[in-house]
Symmetry: C2
Subunit: 464 residues, 2 copies
C-alpha cells in the first residue's frame, strides 16, 4: 500500500489510493512486487516506484495515466524489461505502468501483410501467430522483447540490413497521451501523405511523449531457404569493404555479422569453436530455393576476390541454427573470460565506410586499460557493440568502461555517426543528445513540452 514502510518515498497525495479505487488488484505496492518492475537489464541506477499498474488493456493504461496526470505524478512505462539503457528504470515517487500483460495479437491481415498486436506481445509470440499464414515479423533483436518496447526504442537487430529497423516496420500505433486520452496514429495502408507522421514521432520516444499500447507492423513472407556461411577476413578494413561491395552489388544480405579475432578466441575457449581466430563475418541469405544458393554463390565469389576464406557454409536448417549459435554465444563466451562479470554494452553506429577506423581506434583506446571487451557488429548497418566486461565490485573498471564508452560516442559522432544505433537513449545516453543533435535539441524539447506539458511521462529519459 502507499503507506507501506517498504515504499522508499511516500507522497501522501492520494495517487495510489485513486489508482487502487479505479484498477483494484492490478495495482501493486509491495516492495517485493515492485523490485522486478523497477529496472531493465542495464547497469543504470533505479529506485522503487510508489506503485505499479499491471495493465491488461489500453483502457487500463489510459485510466492510470489520467489519474497520474491529475496528481502530477511521474509514470514510467515498461514492456518486457530487456532494455539496455535504463529506459524503463523507475524513480522514487513514480508509478510504473507495466504493459507486459497486454498479450493479444489483435489482427492479422495476411493478404495485406500486416498485423496489430498489443504492446506486451513478445516478438516470438507475434511470429508464432503469423507463421501459419506463411509470414514473419522480421525486424527487432533476437532477445525476444515486447513489440511495444521495440517500437519505443526504435530497436533493431541482425536483420536490419535486409528488413530495416522498427522505424521501417511500424505502420500505425495506439498511444495513450499524457492526459490519458487515446489516439490512433498512422495508417494500415502501404503509404500515406496525410499530415504529420506522429507514428514515427512516438517510435523511439521511449515513453516520454506517450505510452504505446498497440502496434501495427509490416510482415514479410517466411523464406523457404536459408544459406549461411562463416568467412575469415584478412582484417577489419577488408571485412567492411567486402560488405560495402556486396551491398553495392544489390546482393540481398539478410544478416551480416562481424566477430573480431579476440571474440573468436573467446568462443574457442568457451565451446571449442574451431574457426580461424581472425576477423570473421557470418553472412546469411534467405529466399526461395532457386535463388538463395545463387545469391550465396555470388557472395562467395565476391568474398574470395577480397581474399576471404570460407570456414563453413550450409543450407541445412539444423546447421544454420548451429552457425548462429556462435553469434549467440559471444556474450556468455566473453563473460566466461571474467568470472561473474557484468557487461557494459556500447552501441554506436557510423557510416559503414568508417566502421573499420572506428573499431580500430576503439581497440587502441581499450589497450590503454585492462578492460576486456569483445566486439560484435551489425556490419551491414555500421553498428557495433563492445561488451565491456566488468569484474564484480570493480569500481575502477566501471569508471574506465564509462570513459571508454564516452570517448567512443565522441569518436562516432566525429565520423558522422550516432550515439545509439538500436539500444535507445534511456538514461545512459542523455548526455550525448546535445552533442549529437546540437541545435535540434530545442525543437525536440518544444515537442516534448507540447505533448507532455506537466513533464510526467518517463521523466529523466531521452532528453533528461
Amino acid at each position: 500500500m502507499a503507506t507501506s514502510s517498504e515504499t522508499p518515498e511516500t507522497r501522501d497525495d492520494g495517487v495510489v489510493q485513486a489508482l487502487i479505487s479505479a484498477l483494484g488488484d492490478k495495482v501493486l505496492t509491495a516492495a517485493e512486487d515492485l523490485e522486478p518492475l523497477s529496472h531493465d537489464r542495464s547497469h543504470h541506477g533505479w529506485e522503487l516506484p510508489q506503485a505499479a499498474v499491471r495493465a491488461t488493456s489500453t483502457e487500463d493504461v489510459a485510466t492510470a495515466v489520467r489519474i497520474c496526470h491529475e496528481h502530477q505524478t511521474p509514470v514510467v512505462p515498461r514492456g518486457s524489461g530487456t532494455g539496455l539503457e535504463g529506459g524503463a528504470n523507475t524513480t522514487a515517487g513514480s508509478i510504473c505502468i507495466d504493459v507486459s500483460g497486454m498479450r493479444q495479437v489483435v489482427d492479422i491481415a495476411a493478404d495485406d501483410m500486416y498485423a496489430t498486436a498489443e504492446a506486451g506481445v513478445l516478438k516470438s509470440e507475434l511470429n508464432a501467430a503469423v507463421e501459419p499464414h506463411g509470414l514473419q515479423f522480421a525486424a527487432g533483436p533476437a532477445i525476444d522483447p515486447s513489440i511495444g518496447g521495440m517500437a519505443s526504442t526504435s530497436a533493431s537487430g541482425t536483420t536490419a540490413v535486409r528488413y530495416g529497423t522498427l522505424k521501417e516496420n511500424v505502420l500505425a500505433l495506439t498511444v495513450v497521451l499524457a492526459d490519458g486520452s487515446v489516439i490512433r496514429t498512422g495508417s494500415t495502408t502501404k503509404k500515406t501523405s496525410a499530415g504529420y507522421d506522429l507514428t514515427h514521432l512516438f517510435v523511439g520516444s521511449e515513453g516520454t511523449l506517450g505510452i504505446i499500447t498497440e502496434v501495427t507492423v509490416n510482415l514479410h513472407p517466411l523464406p523457404a531457404c536459408t544459406a549461411v556461411g562463416v568467412w575469415s577476413l584478412p582484417d577489419l578494413e577488408t571485412a567492411a569493404q567486402l560488405v560495402v561491395a556486396a551491398l553495392r552489388a544489390s546482393l540481398p544480405l539478410t544478416r551480416v555479422e562481424l566477430l573480431d579475432a579476440p571474440t573468436i578466441r573467446a568462443l574457442k575457449e568457451y565451446n571449442g569453436y574451431t574457426a580461424k581466430p581472425a576477423d570473421t563475418i557470418i553472412v546469411e541469405f534467405t529466399g526461395n530455393e532457386a535463388e538463395t544458393p545463387v545469391h550465396y554463390a555470388q557472395f562467395a565469389q565476391l568474398a574470395r576476390s577480397f581474399n576471404a576464406e570460407e570456414f563453413s557454409s550450409t543450407t541445412e536448417p539444423e546447421e544454420v541454427r548451429g552457425t548462429w549459435q556462435a553469434r549467440a554465444d559471444v556474450l556468455p563466451a566473453s563473460q566466461h573470460l571474467v568470472p561473474n562479470a557484468k557487461v557494459l554494452p556500447t552501441d554506436v553506429c557510423v557510416p559503414i565506410s568508417r566502421l573499420p577506423e572506428c573499431i580500430l581506434e576503439t581497440k587502441k583506446d581499450l589497450e590503454t586499460t585492462d578492460l576486456i571487451a569483445p566486439i560484435a557488429g551489425h556490419v551491414g548497418d555500421g553498428n557495433f557493440h563492445l561488451a565491456i566486461l566488468l569484474p564484480p565490485g570493480d569500481e575502477q573498471a566501471y569508471a574506465q568502461a564509462k570513459q571508454i564508452n564516452e570517448r567512443l560516442v565522441d569518436r562516432a559522432l566525429a565520423m558522422g555517426g550516432t550515439c545509439t544505433g538500436e539500444h535507445g537513449v534511456g538514461v545512459g545516453k542523455v548526455a550525448s543528445m546535445a552533442k549529437e543533435h546540437r541545435s535540434a535539441v530545442p525543437a525536440m524539447l518544444a515537442v516534448k513540452q507540447a505533448l507532455d506539458p506537466l513533464g510526467i511521462l518517463n521523466p529523466g529519459k531521452v532528453l533528461g
Copy 2:
C-alpha cells in the same frame, strides 16, 4: 515593390523593405514575376503574395524567415511547383520563399550509398549526379519534382512497391524553423535510436513546421537489367489477387501499375495502343542479368495461374521505355477524350486487398455522373488515381468531381485507407484530416503550435 499597385494586398508593415534590405534583388515584387510562383499544378485557388524570395542558400531562407517572423508575416515555401493539392499556393499578404534556385548536390557518399542535395535539386539532376557512381535515387514520382518538395509531401511514385516512399528514403534534413533558426535532423547512418525522429516529422509536413533546405537520401544500386511485361487480367479482383500473390511469394516487383479497360481504350484512340481493352497491369523487375529474367519468368508462371494473358514482354532498354510510354500517355490520352480538359486528380490509398472493391464502387459512383475519369493505380501499394476530366468552364462538372472525390475519400477511410497516398494534403484535403485522424488531430495541432507558435508557416495547409 511592396507599394506597387499590382500587388493585391499591401500591408505597410515594412516586411518587404526589410527583405529587400537583407536580400536585395533576390526579392521579387512585380505581379508578373509573382504570378508563376503563386500556385502549383492543381485546380485550387490562390492569391498573389506580397513578394517572393528567390533563395540560393539555407542562409537566404533563414534570413527571409527571420524577417517574416519579426513581422508576423506568413511564408509559403515553394520547390518546383509540381504539387497537386495547392500546398505551395500563396495567399494575399504572404511571402513566397522559392527554393528552386538551390541546386547544389552537396555530397555523394558512394560507398555508404547516400547523397545530400539542396532542396531545389530536381530528381533528374540528383540521378545524373549519382549515376556515374552506379547509383540511383529510386523513390518519388516521374514528373521530376525537387527533392525538397518530394520530402515535404512525403511523395512517391511507381517504384514505391520496391523502394518505398520519401519516408523510407530520407535519412536527414536541414530545416529552417519558424524563427529563422537552422537545425539538422537525423543521421547519415543506416539507423539510429537517438531521440525524437524529427526527420519524419518534417517529411510530409508541407512547410507548416519548418522549411526543408537540404535533404540527405538513401541511394540504391543502378540495376544492370530491366524486364517489363504487359498483362491483361480477367477483372480487377484478379489483378489485385495476382499482385498480392506475387508480393507474398517475395517476388521483388520494382513497379506494378494498373490501367483499367477504359484507360486502355483511351490509349488506343490516342496513340493506337494495341493491348486488349481489359484491366491491365504493367509489371517491372530489375536486378542483375542472371536473376531478373528468372524473376519475370516466376511472375509469368504465377500470372498464368490467375488466367492473365501476356500482351508483351521485353528486356530491351528501348522497348522497356516504349512500354512505360503507355503509362505516361494515360493523362494526355484521357485529356484527348475531352478537348482542353483540366484534370482533378484523386489519390486515395487502401490496403491492397480492398483495392478492387474500392475501385469498383467508385466506378459505380462515377456512372451516376457524366464525368470521364480514367483510372491508373500503383496496385502494389493499394494507391490509385482517377483523372477526372473537367470540360473548360463547366462548373457543374467541377462540383460533381469534387463530390466524387469526397465520397471516394470517405469510402477509402471506411476501408482502413488514407485520403492521400502520395499527393499530400495541401489545401485540398484539409477537410479530410479530421475524418482520417480523429482524436490524433489535437496532438498534431499541439506539435504545430510548439514549432510555429505565431502560425506563420504555410498557413491554411495540412491542418487548415
